[in-house]
Amino acid sequence: MAVQDATSEVLVDTLERSLRNRRIAKHVGIFLTLTLLWELGSRMGWLDPLFYPRPSNIIRSFWLIYFQNANVWFHLYSTISLVIIGWVLGSMLGIGLGALVGFNTVIRRFLKPYVIVLEATPRIAVAPLLIAALGFGVNSKLAIIMLVCFFAPFINTLSGVINVNEERLELFRSMRASKTQILRKLVLPDAIPVIMAGERLALTAALSGALVAEFIQRDKGIGSLILVYTRNLNMASAFACIFTLTIIGFLIFKGMEKLDHYIAYWKYEGGRERMSSKRKRTMVEP
């Protein structure tokens, strides 16, 4: 029942194949042609520039909001700092509760109906409620981010803890492993890849949660900036902000991949060798 990221190996594989040296020129060509068509369509009056901004205007807006006016930094800082704090707090809560519930069958049995109900509710929908309860500002934003972050790590930790390989557990027991040993050497290593998948989803969800909170509060943050620009029909700047989010999303994706390689190193090709050679070095030194 663990929640998985939608980005599959097939897609990554295709992406890698399609971005190989010889093909990249073709890709850039197609992209430039599309962009040029868009620009032309806008200049010829087929696309209303009020709603569908020209690529050249979007590039100019990037320059404007990042360097000339430099107003985006403040909002970016506000959003990103909240996302990271909320993600850390929310997923810590999720992992802790997930482990607690996973190890305790009684709690698990009693909590199950509530989890099912919570799973079916769109959790972002609680945003207005939380804002009304906690007031405008940082508190309610953090609460929303924590709420949307909580669930994936919770469920994944829970399922990671429950789905321990029975045979291995038996082996551990027959060798008289203590409970802490079972936890440290069996349950945690088995659960970590699943937990990391949950963490990755949670970080993406955190960004969405922050955006929704900012749409409602409209005070600061990249979400409120997008809203204000769109209201003023300054679509080029709105798109510059959205593409900024694309870059952030991409960085999140790559960053989580790196973190996964670092934490769950045994899952990846070469990771185990790298780790064992590192251990060897540290063991030889003294």
Partner: protein, 286 residues
């Protein structure tokens, strides 16, 4: 786990269910009671967390005596379902096209990935500017954010087929159409339905968030309206309807999954083969 074929008498079954659920009901009652008392004694401010009895009376008012919720309920449900249908239609057809034609897959993948790493919710203000304040913008947002999980899952299912089976098909001289119909499509169905389940949930989120941003009807509007009137009881009662929509969507998809991908579950497979045997017997009789 083995289940005996002997039917348990009805009275016994009711008793069994009663015994099984009694602790849950007791716990639920205790929680509600503690909540009610702590609000009544002023331990929790009733503005922020309303009494359960107040929530209950709000539920009665919204759902039974006034029935205001149903219009909004069906509007949101329609937005989510129509958006999902559009998103799923586009996603499945693109996935099929890119599974059949490798260059297409290579050129489509980068854009799909870019769409995925951008938080779809960030597009809300722009989508509202494009499609207006009515249902169109909600449907569009639901379609956009439900697209990716369905696309990825269907593509993965279509591409990652068992190589031995593919070899068998090839060595028996199966045509491309046969390979697709008898091998790839059935292999993709379970994953496709997993994608549909994720997509439905995200479609609901898209519809609700777009309603938060700007709308006149829908559960999201009702929710934010009640929240900003600090009518928390009514707001929570509205949240309940979102949970109900979520449950309806999820379980109807689960039902379809069970019917269409019948071979995954033993009992369903047996039922399907029995039905087939009956039709063949009827044909033989003729």
């Amino acid at each position: 786990m083995s289940v005996s074929d002997q039917p348990i008498p009805l009275s016994g079954r009711i008793l069994d269910i009663g015994v099984r659920f009694l602790p849950h009901f007791v716990l639920f009652a205790v929680i509600i009671g503690a909540w009610e008392i702590s609000v009544a004694t002023g331990l929790i401010t009733s503005i922020i967390i309303p009494r359960p009895s107040a929530i209950w009376s709000a539920i009665v008012e919204l759902y039974i005596t006034e029935g205001t919720i149903y219009r909004h309920f069906f509007i949101t449900l329609t937005e989510a379902v129509v958006g999902f249908a559009i998103g799923a239609g586009v996603a499945v057809s693109l996935a099929i096209a890119s599974s059949l034609w490798d260059p297409f897959r290579r050129y489509v993948t980068p854009y799909a990935v870019v769409l995925n790493v951008t938080p779809g919710i960030a597009l809300t203000p722009v989508i509202i500017a494009w499609f207006g304040y009515g249902m169109g913008s909600k449907i569009a947002l639901a379609a956009i954010i439900s697209f990716f999980p369905i696309f990825v899952n269907t593509l993965t299912g279509l591409v990652q087929v068992d190589e031995d089976r593919e070899e068998l098909f090839n060595s028996l001289g199966a045509s491309n159409v046969q390979v697709f119909r008898k091998l790839r499509a059935p292999a993709a169905l379970p994953l496709m339905f997993a994608g549909f389940k994720i997509g439905l949930t995200t479609a609901l989120i898209g519809a609700v968030v777009a309603e938060f941003a700007q709308a006149t009807d829908g559960v999201g509007v009702l929710m934010s309206r009640f929240s900003f009137q600090l009518n928390m009881a009514a707001s929570l009662a509205t949240l309940l309807s979102m949970t109900v929509i979520g449950l309806i969507l999820f379980y109807s998809m689960e039902f379809l999954d069970d019917r269409i991908v019948f071979w995954r579950r033993e009992s369903r497979r047996a039922a399907a083969s029995r039905a087939r045997a009956r039709t063949w017997a009827a044909q033989a009789k003729k």
